[in-house]
């Protein structure tokens, strides 16, 4: 599925989109899945008379957390240590991987079990472990599917959303050696269960992500649907949890807000089937060694940008993916990031920086329809941040762009139109010039073919020519 190998650099969104758009099976799978979750979410959200107040509370809590992140992080470190856990600070992906590798190598194991964690995907942990001969086994069902298929996740919460049951049956038949398997969900789940249970019982080290870390108590929490995460975080003797520094919440009580917002927004459930909380280590119960790795990897840079900061409020519910008309049609792989969809379109370029052409193409992967903002449980104004990032890209181009970049048709057109709109006379003259110029392209009162960049418009759409009498000209005849 990934087109990465064909290009030297990571392709931009528009370069990849075309291939995914023409994959009708993929369109069907993702369209069906996103519409199902979307409709269910709308239903469970409508049950809540105080939903808007909850969203407001979630947004305010996150704002406060970000404002005092320094204080809360130190508090979290102290709480975790007091509860018998160890805290490690990682500036970037390399540092995080080195910390985790050292911890795992000290245990002399060849395999670790993992519960779905996008943060570890962000740092490329599995690859780093594999480099040292350690196999990381994904235990979240969907992550397992993606791993077995040697594919990449395409959704934050439903990583195998691009696959349907028949495709999964084929995969399991081949990889799990069960030839008789049907595509009944129960049978598929059972096949995975048998495979995973054996792994859980023998694993020495578990690696998890986390939805929340409570500064006040040092508690880390994972919410999930399958219970595989709970096994990952309770059965192995050593547990390593990797969290971005923005996942912190100040107090235990704040769960009241987030545990209402998250499940309804994410899986359209009133409550997640499995909500796990662990605080340091407990004698004779669960892991006897607990490590919390706190990851920056660009987050403090995001925090420094007043407008972009709200991106860090994200609780990874994926509601924005499920309502996004762009994501629905291209799927997650076109974003070339572990964070796809609308939230990815603002998070990825901020984490990776705008020098990365693939990341810098993402703020444009939106029609700014606003559906994401409407469903966001912590009120991240995604369209606003998209436009802000586009502004940053233009500023960068003006400051350090090459002559060629400044001669690109969009840049030239924007500059020229900017000048034209500043004066009535120029504006009216431009209308007249366009009206005579369009004669070249007008046939039977319609423009069906335009040159250059504009041909992308006329690929599917006709254009009405400017009429013989514009509104302005008509208005003049009245007065």
């Amino acid at each position: 599925m990934s087109k990465r190998s064909k290009h030297q650099r990571t392709p931009t969104f528009e370069e990849s989109a075309e291939g995914y758009l023409s994959n009708t099976q993929l369109r069907r799978n993702i369209g069906h899945a996103t519409h199902t979750i979307r409709d269910k979410r709308a239903g469970v959200v409508a049950e809540m008379p105080d939903w808007e107040k909850l969203r407001e509370a979630g947004a305010k809590l996150k704002q406060r957390t970000m404002r005092h992140l320094d204080k809360y992080l130190v508090q979290l470190e102290e709480s975790v240590q007091q509860a018998g856990g160890q805290v490690h600070w990682a500036r970037d992906a390399d540092e995080a991987n080195r910390i985790i590798l050292d911890l795992v190598k000290a245990k002399q194991v060849e395999e670790v079990v993992k519960v779905k964690s996008i943060t570890t995907d962000e740092i490329g942990l599995n690859k780093a472990l594999a480099g040292e001969g350690i196999q990381a086994l994904e235990t979240d069902l969907a992550e397992l599917i993606v791993q077995l298929a040697e594919d990449e996740p395409s959704h934050i919460l439903v990583p195998a959303i691009h696959k349907n049951r028949a495709e999964i049956r084929e995969l399991f038949r081949e990889k799990l050696g069960n030839r008789e398997l049907s595509d009944k969900p129960e049978e598929l789940a059972e096949a995975a269960r048998i495979y995973l249970r054996r792994k859980f019982l023998s694993a020495e080290v578990g690696i998890s992500g986390g939805n929340f870390a409570v500064a006040e108590t040092g508690t880390v929490s994972v919410v999930e649907s399958e219970g595989n995460g709970r096994m990952c975080t309770t059965l192995p003797n050593t547990l390593i949890s990797v969290l971005g520094i923005e996942k912190i919440i100040p107090t235990w009580r704040d769960f009241e807000v987030f545990m209402q917002l998250l499940p309804r927004s994410a899986t359209a459930e009133r409550m997640n089937p499995y909500n796990s909380f662990w605080t340091g280590v407990e004698d004779g119960d669960g892991p006897q060694e607990f490590h919390l790795v706190l990851l920056d990897n660009g987050r403090t840079k995001v925090l420094a940008d007043e407008m972009g900061r709200q991106t860090l409020h994200c609780i990874r519910c994926s509601a924005c993916l499920n309502v996004c008309p762009v994501y629905e049609r291209t799927g997650g792989h076109a974003y070339h990031s572990v964070y796809p969809g609308p939230i990815g379109a603002i998070l990825t370029p901020q984490l990776k920086g705008l020098d990365d052409p693939s990341a810098a193409s993402l703020p444009y992967a939106s029609s700014l329809c606003g559906a994401c903002y409407e469903v966001c449980p912590v009120k991240i104004n995604i369209p606003e941040v998209l436009v802000h990032l586009r502004g940053e890209i233009v500023k960068k181009k003006e400051k350090e762009g090459s002559l060629r970049e400044k001669m690109d048709p969009e840049h030239v057109a924007m500059k020229w139109m900017g000048r034209t709109f500043r004066k009535r006379s120029r504006y009216e003259r431009a209308q007249k010039v366009a009206r005579s110029g369009q004669k070249l392209f007008t046939h039977d009162g319609t423009i069906s073919k335009l040159p250059g960049e504009l041909s992308k418009w006329t690929a599917m759409r006709d254009l009405k020519p400017i009429p013989k009498q514009t509104f302005r000209e008509w208005w003049k005849t009245r007065s």
Binding site: Y364, A371, M414, K415, K456, M460, R461, W475
Partner: protein, 230 residues
């Protein structure tokens, strides 16, 4: 819109000095370029009692983003002027229903019509069902519900060109839903979205016209309710 507002007894002025609200520049990232356009807007419309536009996205630009553009300049005077003018800026259906309290504008339009609520009217301005209230009161109209109405048509300004393939995939679905209604006319409150939808309908010989909400509301029995094709 002029005919409609005058029929309702209002005096309409069109200040010739106006040009463009700057939305295209702002949304494409050329925020600096919008500063002179914001200045122009507040000067040109300074004395108007109400500023009405038949475009939700232009009104959205003024209401949502003009304060941000004014902030960019750091000029207190401009910030204040923008703050003062915003409450007087209305999208057409909001002006009629919310400000004037009119739902029946006395229009006559004997056609099968489906209404596409544009993204900015729906999610930015939150016009709600104001346009539908107006349409339901139009005599002779056969108003049919558009499936998946709230989904974007894929226009998105420069998005339609920059990400043309994705935009066209979105548009394709919108066109399919419109055709499913068997309407003669697809109406909306934004000419940009109508240009996008209409462009594809025309290309496909879809047999469906795109008509702005204002045109429908302006049609009366005297003018025999003929569709204005210009």
């Amino acid at each position: 819109m002029v005919r409609l507002l005058e029929r309702l007894g209002h005096t309409v002025d069109f200040p010739m000095e106006q040009t463009c609200c700057g939305q295209m520049h702002y949304n494409t990232g050329y925020q600096e370029e919008t500063i002179p356009l914001v200045r122009r807007f507040v000067d040109v419309f300074d004395h108007a009692e109400a500023i009405v536009a038949p475009s939700a996205s232009c009104v959205g630009m003024v209401k949502e983003f003009y304060p941000k553009v004014a902030d960019l300049t750091g000029e207190d005077k401009l910030i204040q002027k923008v703050d003062e003018i915003i409450p007087r800026v209305y999208e057409l259906s909001q002006f009629l229903v919310d400000k004037l309290g009119v739902e029946d504008v006395g229009a006559y339009y004997p056609h099968r019509v489906t209404y596409h609520p544009t993204c900015h009217s729906l999610r930015m301005l939150k016009v709600g069902d104001a346009p539908l209230k107006l349409l339901r009161n139009v005599k002779g109209i056969d108003l049919v519900e558009l499936p998946a109405a709230e989904e974007c048509c894929g226009f998105g300004g420069t998005f339609a060109i920059k990400n043309a393939d994705t935009s066209m995939a979105m548009l394709g679905d919108k066109i399919r839903h419109i055709k499913d209604t068997e309407a003669e006319v697809c109406a909306a409150g934004d000419n940009s979205c109508l240009m996008h939808i209409g462009g594809a309908l025309k290309r496909q010989r879809g047999g469906v016209e795109t008509v702005h909400l204002a045109e429908i509301l302006a049609s009366t029995e005297d003018e025999n309710g003929e569709m204005d094709h210009e």
